[in-house]
Symmetry: C2
Subunit: 127 residues, 2 copies
């Protein structure tokens, strides 16, 4: 089993690579047969091609999407964390809270990601 | 399916009843056959008697345990939230971050709860 330090490193790279639009760096964090359910309740995306498509669709929504991740909690091969998502365009910045739940393989690659958030609760950032 | 307002109300009562030691109020939030995995990776507690025992064991750890819940995210019949747990004795207050993931039945009662936290990261509260 991957140790918690390796899992925490994957999570920090997940935030950093997504926030800088580093597609290959972000995709490398997933196992080949990983699944993504974002948001929870939406159809499952299975495998790297589907997950790459998800990345591209997400990044197209804004000039930049910054994941301000916090309070990652690792339990065995699973983890959960809170993040603020900042969706930045030249007009405005929207802020949403989200909680991601992930599982990991022995190499601390993500085998599943489920994202809890409610887009209807997005709010305009102060200042 | 329970609507998100009803699920949010259950979550707020979960924080409030646990924080005031309201055993019956807290237990009433669970379905009869609910399960609790706290922390994630520990043996599953199944049914109200096992969940009541978990409540009693938790409450014995301190004079008071306050759940400062935040950022509940409801997706269909599931939800996740971040909270700070304050474990208060007459000597000191320990603070831990945790993330809970729950499922709910049609009456917005909790059918499963999984708690992500790492007791080794507890810290002494400031002031």
């Amino acid at each position: 089993m991957a140790d918690s330090t390796a899992i925490e490193a994957t999570i920090e790279r997940y935030w950093a690579t997504f926030s800088t639009g580093d597609r290959e760096g972000w995709l490398a964090l997933f196992a080949d047969d990983a699944t993504v359910e974002d948001p929870v309740g939406s159809p499952l995306r299975e495998g790297k091609a589907a997950i790459a498509e998800f990345f591209d669709q997400s990044q197209m929504l804004a000039d930049r999407i910054v994941l301000d991740g916090r309070t990652a909690q690792v339990c065995g091969h699973e983890a959960a964390f809170h993040m603020q998502i900042r969706v930045i365009t030249d007009q405005t910045t929207l802020v949403m809270d989200a909680i991601d739940v992930m599982t990991f393989d022995d190499d601390a690659r993500i085998t599943s990601m489920r994202a809890f958030f409610d887009p209807s609760k997005a709010r305009i950032a102060d200042g």
